[in-house]
Subunit: 243 residues, 2 copies
Amino acid sequence: MRYELHYWSGIQGRGEYLRLALEEAGAAYVEVVRLPESQGGGDGAMLARLDEADERQPPFAPPFLKAGKRVIAQTANILQFLGPRLGLVGASENARLWTHQLQLTIADLVNEVHDAHHPIAVSLYYHEQKPEAKRRTQHLIAERLPKFLGYFERVLERAPGGGKWLAGGKLSYADLSLFQTLAGLRYAYPKAMAKLEPAWPRIVALHDRVAARPRIAAYLASSRRVPFNEHDVFRHYPELDRA
Amino acid sequence: MRYELHYWSGIQGRGEYLRLALEEAGAAYVEVVRLPESQGGGDGAMLARLDEADERQPPFAPPFLKAGKRVIAQTANILQFLGPRLGLVGASENARLWTHQLQLTIADLVNEVHDAHHPIAVSLYYHEQKPEAKRRTQHLIAERLPKFLGYFERVLERAPGGGKWLAGGKLSYADLSLFQTLAGLRYAYPKAMAKLEPAWPRIVALHDRVAARPRIAAYLASSRRVPFNEHDVFRHYPELDRA
């Protein structure tokens, strides 16, 4: 199966959680927006396709994945679809539900990080909601990051198999997602994270373990990995970062 | 199977999406917080159980569901678990993924509605973030509600079976969730919704169809249905409601 990933070309965003899964599995996939325009490339063509992609089951927003005739949207839903096919989730119903539950909790955290620089509206620029962003980010750093990351640290502490991976003895897509989220938080809030991180040694070790996997390391070093930037979910605005 | 639902006693909140599914199916379930304290009742006991509920797979937040020895959290994940067991989702993988995709999109909308009255922090009261809430709610009403509800209207328009139900010819848990969301929006923003609703006749018809189902009608008329209130996800603050 050759998968088609449809997502914005210039950001990691929510699409990155899918890229990491596809890369770790060595799956055959193409990012359609990165093709020449004559082959459907470009963000505009993707947006136009959003509504045509599947007349009966249209995605609400990118990312969406085409797998043969199927069109699937919602990042966590796509990961749930890919998980068994890419060997990135346990086979039992319990393993699938638990891994998905973790993924949805990561998605909640990612939403909160996004909204910290866009607390009023996605239709406004950051500079149009800067005082509100400052206020929200203070609460994010002081309250929400410790709550979410403290939770994942606890999950690792209790996980079978020595706490290497969130959902037990084997790497799952949720581990890739936690890696990405920690990497993003470090980019966005280097001062705050330097202070907070020592409380989460298991998450830091998981991050390093994921980064060292051969396919992930090759991907991160490649031009396929879009650099972090200030159009993305994780943004570094020095005025928001407080130790 | 007798299910145990664990959620705040005083609000509909995200737990309501589970209550509606359990009620529609006539499932045997108990809301543990509503039991006498000697039997584990009370919100405090629920919070204490959150972390003990399953040592290996702790929920991050309510709601969570106990089904035998299983403990499952994240509303959409619980619905996905219950769907086939309660006859509230199609049998094929495609039907399950599509219904879940719709549910996750409804969850995104519900998050945005919540954040419209809490744009800065969940740890602050509404009155501590009122100017920001006013600003965010204007964008919610002008931009986000039309985008989300316009999308669901389009899904119904294209759905097989005459557009009665979101995921095809048969009621699914996503229909119950869309009903609840419309009901909540009407409560929160009566003026704005009166103006917007004519654009979404299929959603309004779906709402009425769900409300008329015998078990749902009985539930809505019962004391098990917590009234809408201002501690909930959908809140009516007249100063935020604009036609």
